[in-house]
């Protein structure tokens, strides 16, 4: 008996090994969409896809398969691995990536630019919000369709700020003044409540540098949107120095904590009174605070009075590839559905991502939703008031650049290093990465 079951089991091994789910082929065009949306974002994604498959999709013989591919990082790893293996048939029709994916994707010849796709389908992208389009413009063309859009936002403990008689700060100078009051120490002088916790790096600096003089960049080539950057420009333009001077003043109040991770949890626990985070964190921050204090949000404070550029639009976008005419047309149909004013409203309400369709902002339902959730309105007001040309940074070696900013800013504060010296170090390090990258990739195209 035991032997028979053992043999039966051994026989099943080869069968199971090569088992594959059945693939159906019934004349329907199937669109595969790789994404990294998890938790409540995934639920919203699935809801949109389901709705499409039942309505527009069913009418046009299109079916969308949304497949979760791990974190945004894992999704990019997967796309890169497929690209390197060279079998493009394994690529999905749509892949959702964040800014770190653009540099890689721009090297692959078969990426289908969205404005070209729209033109080939006899349409255009005029329904899209200008900020959204600019955020994905690469060498003059739209490399991917903006979809889950967010910006940086100032979160603060409104209860504590109001107790001290403060409103949200408009500038870094104001925050520094408030920190002198808000920061609490125990009798040994140890800080028990910080005013803000952050070590600014690429994400924060895109906005803090981008807003200066109405529009500034971290590197040449418009932050990589006109091609691979060749050098940094923040040293010559003095933008980083202007920011660091304010940041050091803030640190000197003792109210700034150089915390690099777990900031949201500290904020929710009330140990730090404010933080800089994405608008897309709003739902989870509210959930974690759970009414222990009132959460306030405000536009990112200005570096100085001339820093009027506002913030850049970040988040994720959908890339697509050249394929068959049926697929391309189906992809466009689905893209139009995803970015329609109605879908964007639904997506915004479910996830807090900012609508990328400019008509959504005019909808009555949208205005009503904002009225009920004024915190969400702050984010969209901030975006609409920003210069659309303020953009995120597309740079190779993004990870090294991230650490260069973070390590040098922390060292400047904790080891009391001169600001000019700090700026020089960062510029030299990042220029070095860019030189090396451009040397390795020079004889391309």
């Amino acid at each position: 008996m035991r032997k028979t079951s053992l043999i039966a089991f051994m026989l099943m091994i080869p069968l199971a090994l090569f088992a594959r789910g059945s693939a159906e082929d019934d004349g329907i065009t199937t669109i595969t969409w790789w994404h990294s949306n998890s938790g409540i974002i995934q639920e919203a994604t699935d809801a949109l896809v389901e709705k499409f498959n039942e309505t527009t999709g069913a009418e046009n013989g299109i079916r969308v398969d949304a497949v979760y591919q791990g974190s945004a990082n894992d999704t990019l790893t997967k796309v890169k691995t497929v690209m390197q293996a060279g079998d493009l048939s394994q690529l999905p029709d749509l892949v959702q990536l964040d800014a770190t994916g653009v540099t890689d994707m721009s090297t692959y010849g078969n990426v289908y630019f969205i404005d070209e796709l729209a033109a080939d389908q006899g349409e255009d992208l005029s329904f899209m919000l200008e900020h959204a389009l600019e955020s994905m413009r690469y060498k003059g063309k739209i490399i991917a369709l903006p979809f889950n859009a967010s910006t940086i936002l100032f979160y603060y403990n409104k209860t504590a700020f109001e107790e001290a008689g403060f409103d949200a700060p408009q500038t870094l100078d104001e925050l520094t003044e408030m920190a002198k009051v808000l920061t609490q120490r125990d009798k040994d002088g140890k800080v028990t409540r910080y005013t803000i916790a952050s070590v600014p790096t690429t994400y924060e600096l895109c906005a803090f540098i981008g807003m200066q003089h109405g529009l500034s960049y971290i590197t040449d080539m418009s932050n990589g949107h006109d091609g691979t950057p060749t050098k940094t420009v923040f040293r010559q333009e003095g933008t980083l120095k202007a920011f660091l001077e304010k940041w050091r003043a803030l640190y000197e109040t003792g109210g700034l904590s150089n915390l690099t991770s777990g900031v949201s949890a500290q904020f929710a626990a009330g140990q730090t009174l404010s933080m800089l985070a994405s608008t897309s964190n709003l739902t989870s921050v509210l959930e974690a605070v759970d009414g222990r204090f009132e959460v306030g949000v405000a536009p990112l404070m200005k570096v100085n009075e001339e820093a009027t550029g506002g913030v850049n639009l970040g988040g994720g976008a959908l890339f697509t590839f050249h394929s068959t005419p049926e697929k391309e047309s189906a992809v466009w149909t689905f893209m139009k559905f995803l970015t329609s004013a109605e879908s964007q409203l639904e997506w915004h309400i479910a996830t807090g991502y900012l609508p990328v369709n400019r008509h959504t902002y005019e909808m009555e339902e949208y205005k009503a939703h904002c009225k009920e959730n004024p915190l969400f309105q702050v984010a969209s007001d901030q975006l609409l008031a920003s210069n659309p040309d303020v953009t995120g940074l597309w740079i190779p070696n993004a990870y090294d650049v991230y650490y260069s900013f973070q390590s040098n800013i922390r060292a400047m504060l904790e080891e009391n290093i001169d600001i000019d010296e700090t700026v020089n170090r960062m510029a030299d390090e990042i220029d070095g990465y860019l030189d090396e990258f451009n040397r390795q990739n020079s004889n391309k195209h």
Binding site: Q84, T260, G262, A398, Q440
Partner: protein, 285 residues
Amino acid sequence: MKRQTLRAYAFILPVMLLAIVFVYMPFIQSVVSSFFTVRMDSSLAGFAGMENYRKLFENEIFHQSLSNTFFFMVLFVPLNIILIMAAVLLTERKSRSGSIFETVFMLPMAVGMSSAALIFKYMFRPSVGIINSILNVDIPWTDNAFAAMFSVVMLGVFLDFGLDYILLLSAMRNLDRSVLEAAQIDGAGKFRLFASMKLPLISPTLFFVLFISIKDALLICAPVMVMTEGGPFRSTQTIVYYYYIEAFKNSNYSAAFAISTVVFVIATVITVISFRIDRRVHYEN
């Protein structure tokens, strides 16, 4: 004789094939590529000779990653061996309560790496983490280089504990009782009995556990990826995680391939040295 040789080859054929197809083939390819300049899309841009290696050895981040790895090893290997030996010695003799402890000490084997790393990550959060709250301290686990490294070391020990415990405990329990009892009659104290009799006798198992610990330390990557992502300020960025960053985040394959060759060379040197030492230990006994 010939038939026996043939049969031997047939028995090892599957593992040899797997080693060639899934390890050596891709690895040799990466070693060859390491002598070329590799573009972002992983195409070869031209022969570079030792250029990638020269650049790597000049790179401060590479030095830091290497020294982080050895720092991890210096903390992890002794701590791992000492804690496991302590657990083995405590439960060496069978007793009524022993079986409960045996089960508990084996239990870490039941947890997968990613689950354990997630649990540790949340336990070791600063301020809001349970470790700080139970010990009533305020250790900045994610913002202090040493504290962050220590938390990864704790995870490493936890992950290796179960299997190493089983191996060493069974080695200890299978020692020849008559020899030990004879030594005891000769009046050897507990400590001398352990140091001069038991330790040498279990040394083959101990050597194996040590060897695997060193290997795990040299190649540690996934726990770092989940727990600290190399932070703060690259202080827990180990050499294999550095490879991961260059290959998968920076698409800097010229550097990545060179790193993988260096890791393998270090590993081979460690293997050769440890087997030399092992042989000497065996001869001495």
